[in-house]
Point group: D2
Chain length 393, copies 4
Amino acid sequence: MGMVGGGQGAFIGAVHRMAAALDSEIDLVCGAFSRDLANCSQTGRELGLTQDRCYSDLGEMLSCEASLGLGGGAAGGRGGMQLLSIVTPNNSHVDFASQAAKAGVHVMSDKPAGISLEEVEDLAVVLQATGTHYGLTHTYLGYPMVWQARHIAASEAFGPIRKVHVRYVQGWLASAAEDGNKQAAWRVDPALAGPGGALGDIGSHAHSLAEFICNSRMSSLVAHLRSHLPGRLLDDDGEILFELENGVTGSLVSSQICAGEENGLSITIYGENAGLEWHQEQPNSLIERRATGEVITHRAGVDKPLCDEALSRCRLPSGHPEGYVEAFANLYRNFARALRDGVAPITYGVPGIAEALRGMAFLEAAVESSNCAGALTEIKEPAYGPDRKGLLT
Amino acid sequence: MGMVGGGQGAFIGAVHRMAAALDSEIDLVCGAFSRDLANCSQTGRELGLTQDRCYSDLGEMLSCEASLGLGGGAAGGRGGMQLLSIVTPNNSHVDFASQAAKAGVHVMSDKPAGISLEEVEDLAVVLQATGTHYGLTHTYLGYPMVWQARHIAASEAFGPIRKVHVRYVQGWLASAAEDGNKQAAWRVDPALAGPGGALGDIGSHAHSLAEFICNSRMSSLVAHLRSHLPGRLLDDDGEILFELENGVTGSLVSSQICAGEENGLSITIYGENAGLEWHQEQPNSLIERRATGEVITHRAGVDKPLCDEALSRCRLPSGHPEGYVEAFANLYRNFARALRDGVAPITYGVPGIAEALRGMAFLEAAVESSNCAGALTEIKEPAYGPDRKGLLT
Amino acid sequence: MGMVGGGQGAFIGAVHRMAAALDSEIDLVCGAFSRDLANCSQTGRELGLTQDRCYSDLGEMLSCEASLGLGGGAAGGRGGMQLLSIVTPNNSHVDFASQAAKAGVHVMSDKPAGISLEEVEDLAVVLQATGTHYGLTHTYLGYPMVWQARHIAASEAFGPIRKVHVRYVQGWLASAAEDGNKQAAWRVDPALAGPGGALGDIGSHAHSLAEFICNSRMSSLVAHLRSHLPGRLLDDDGEILFELENGVTGSLVSSQICAGEENGLSITIYGENAGLEWHQEQPNSLIERRATGEVITHRAGVDKPLCDEALSRCRLPSGHPEGYVEAFANLYRNFARALRDGVAPITYGVPGIAEALRGMAFLEAAVESSNCAGALTEIKEPAYGPDRKGLLT
Amino acid sequence: MGMVGGGQGAFIGAVHRMAAALDSEIDLVCGAFSRDLANCSQTGRELGLTQDRCYSDLGEMLSCEASLGLGGGAAGGRGGMQLLSIVTPNNSHVDFASQAAKAGVHVMSDKPAGISLEEVEDLAVVLQATGTHYGLTHTYLGYPMVWQARHIAASEAFGPIRKVHVRYVQGWLASAAEDGNKQAAWRVDPALAGPGGALGDIGSHAHSLAEFICNSRMSSLVAHLRSHLPGRLLDDDGEILFELENGVTGSLVSSQICAGEENGLSITIYGENAGLEWHQEQPNSLIERRATGEVITHRAGVDKPLCDEALSRCRLPSGHPEGYVEAFANLYRNFARALRDGVAPITYGVPGIAEALRGMAFLEAAVESSNCAGALTEIKEPAYGPDRKGLLT
């Protein structure tokens, strides 16, 4: 695996690296960690890379690595990189993914997929043409209890889903963190972040989580977005009411000005006969409340009565907490295994271009609705190929 | 105290009676518990009343009790009743309150105050004319930690409030409970319940809680209400986005079809520097998260560092859980003390006619917005006297 | 009901009064609240009693009340008192209970029952001779989920009980609270409190809870008690290992120097196939963990699938928290109902003289063991009549 | 790094490998994963090792690896292994560690260190003679909030520590899991596990945690151990009362027959002015309750106000849960950094031979006490060198 972005001072790059390393199925072999060559070299050195595989830009990396051959197996090995991890600001995601795809390199991209639906539609065409695989790190879909929630929500006992409420609240932009914080700065710059601020950064996770667990596409919404800090150009706070194709209605809260909140993603889903509640900050518990009065806490762990999809995302017996990195690692591991097995990563539950497209369509619809004082807005159907539903069945 | 409603088969009447009895400051002396005289007599007998003070209707009760004199002190004593507790379905609240007021009897009414803003405005005129006092049992405003939340939210350290999210979810109407359940049946009948279903029954609590803690009046909203069960005429589920006069924005979820939920009222409030979280089902804890990273759990108890208003609503040292009845009893006790001390119950923190009016205006605005596909709707300013703000300062 | 003790400055008296008042089945009709007549009168006045029923000592109260007749029904009514609530320091419990019994008045006594097993054995003889009823306020046995725990622990599915760990920790004696705090002062004085400090005050609750849920008598123990503050004569902290008659082993922690703790009573019980966990500070939840991996939270509420004994101790639907006063009230209400129905209060689940005797035997054994450096000590079999097991079956 | 043990069917080996891989500072370069060569080869293949570095026994591995030179840096690199990870049953720990040390290879050993104090004392001599480093995977000492707890417990504000209660309960041996479960089988066999069953497996963690947070050595104890299943030779359940050198008293529960429990390690510590509570299953929260009534939840995260030792053990911002593997990885990463920096791993907080010795002395004292019906037993002072206190200061 190679990486673009993730040099010193970055945050998410290190997380991708831990996630990729955890299961010893992926080797980091090269990187274009920073356009600043000193930074890039230093990062590579700290990661045990030789200097000749620390590159100053992606183009150079792709061509040099190609010359090493792609021999060593799908996701690592002795040859050049076969998989590119993209951990740069949003505005470069599509360009880098396209370059990689054209060079025959698979892509794992941080989210959101890009800064417009249009450019991601173009990327979809490239991916289809090149036959390369693409994964999008909607981390929270790597948690076992999210899969268990989807499993239960699909059961006859649960009954048809009626409602979903999803909430993603953080507090780190409650004050002007962007002054002097590199992580904050690009996220509030439309040129780098795209049309969504908090909505792109975390609302996109909430959107994918709701669609995934309910197994249905969001079709329309009413959005009220706003920015609380003077001069901040992108939303840092907002509420959305929405409807899914299967008739489920719900609400989505996305805010980064909720002072004191850490990484407060939570979701509740109600069927005719029961409800489910999951909090990312306590990811190993999934609470089910049945209309008959029983309250059950489903717990993660290889020794627990869970569905196969949840079990395969646990590494340890219950009571040995697995967390964010492990969820993230499930995406990387499954991507690698898909490459090894010659199947599409979506087969192994890794979010891909379908999720990327739906996420961008959601973002654009929400911004449009909010700009029109909360008008009811249809979410555009992205133009793409036959695997339209992605993780939705 | 006398009671109208609350005969056998009723629920909330017994709660009012426990709340009134807890602190031994109010005696139940008479009742018109049911229009069915056998039921009324039996209820009275079980409550230790003599048969001559069990009445078949309110009119009879008011005239007979008046003949006993109003001698025995503000909230009980040897003479006739001085306070009427109204625990009937919504459509009779205003009529009964007016009758009582005209007879010089103070009123503690269950919520919502009535079935239209107009009739509650009329009641306000009667109350002003008669000089009688009126309390509305927004139970949750009786909890000490709700007062502590308001206290913290008003502090300089908390910073200006920016956001409030309130959520009230129950599951008991997830299936057609109204077939054969008296409690459910009247709540889904517009003639008895008024314009709001879940919104009137529990959304009104969520509204009053948000206004109270933020200490600001809700000024406009966008409401999406619906009913999930065939033939159900009133909302059983809905989401509202709103704005308060002080600029705070927020969301309100009100649903009785959230299968498995018990009495899930919760609220989060965010200021510039901190956030607060309170769950009615764990009422003795109030969580404060500060932007500086500290997480504090404020706990109820007479031995705890709380504001005076919270402390005066605790009876026991921390760790001795007080609950719903105790919160309810705080309203009754403070009403009785206000009568004893010759002040308006609002002075001692009991919600009154101002809350009643705002609650009805909220209900009507929400129904109107929902009927207009979620149009942005101003909440009408009720016509009433100089104490416009009630509990809001 | 009459009360001895509970004047101004006292704590537990007010709790007993709320507990007795909650369900409107018991009237407080007289009191000897304090040997200080002004205090007694003032307390009575605040409680709405006439001055002629405020007495300066118990003897006077018993004789005057007897002259009023015992006509008005079991637990209140128009005649003299039929039930005496004893809320004085421990050293007077037995004397007052004996006086009442000899006057034909039933007794509800605060715990522990007395200051020596011997004097409580004498009391048992008096009770048997007079045919009066005696209840001991082991409050925690009034909680519905404690009964549910016992119910589950007795089930075949749970399997034979193997272990019990009970822990009662408070922090209010972490510093020298007894200097100037009346509540603390008598509890650390052996003459007033008896042989146990923390052990008598709260360890006795832990003992009764463990025996009750496991439905077996504690037979032997190893105790290590100590006092952390200079000059404090009674234990303020200790650990006990014990065995029940049914072979269950366990531990008991009793401490009032656990700084920061509120009223931290908790218990875990393990059978061959499952475990149970209950925390008094969250009394409406009982967690069951099954060996098969399922985790179930049993919740209090009249609408929940609970055993009859638990249901009959709930007043409200789930999600409307009931707490300490409601648990306490269950003891009073059931005592009153037993008197009304002419059965022994133990029949309705009120702890009585058997629990009183076992509690004293436990206390004396623990102090003896601790004085002998933690020697294994048998718990004495108290001398009393045929209803030896009390709540144990 | 090389590994001995951890072939197919093993559990803890995979955990060590994830822990070592997470931070990309250690490479697994060779292994003697199983005495069964096919198993060993297959395990190596799955881990991406070449067959020539999969060895059938440790001796062969040590000699072959030595021939590759120890060139590539402290904890990995191009040469032979420099660090041996021992993940075999207890009876081989000391032998393997000694072999490695004599070959100049550092050791990271699973716990407990061995099966007798004597053999671990001998190992200490070898380590001292060879100058090799030794780490013991007391995983829980890798959690940031455990370091924060120690930090707070040492503060003046906390006051002198008075009490510690530690509890480690699991349920997986509640039934006869050893029939057909390799993990269970050796743990209940004295020849393989040593003198302690549950006590060696998990009680040893509880012991190290209590000593570590209180920063004091356990000096004496009273132990009651037992086995609940017929034919089980080692303890599966027990309670211990103990005293630390600094006068702190406490209790330790160690049990693997607590049906339904997962990995329930928890600890409470009380000082004169506050208490602390930590649960391994919720490792990112540390609750502090102050005698003044404040309850604070300290939360893990690089953005939180924590002590340096805690912060350096966090990788992510708060709200991104880190768990068991991350705690484990902290031990490996710090061991590797110590080797890189040429200091003893204890300097970077990795438990070592001092903890190994104290752990064995604790085990032997507990078994001796239990065999003598719970006699008060001094914990032997192990014979070892000048760094007696290890992590204790």
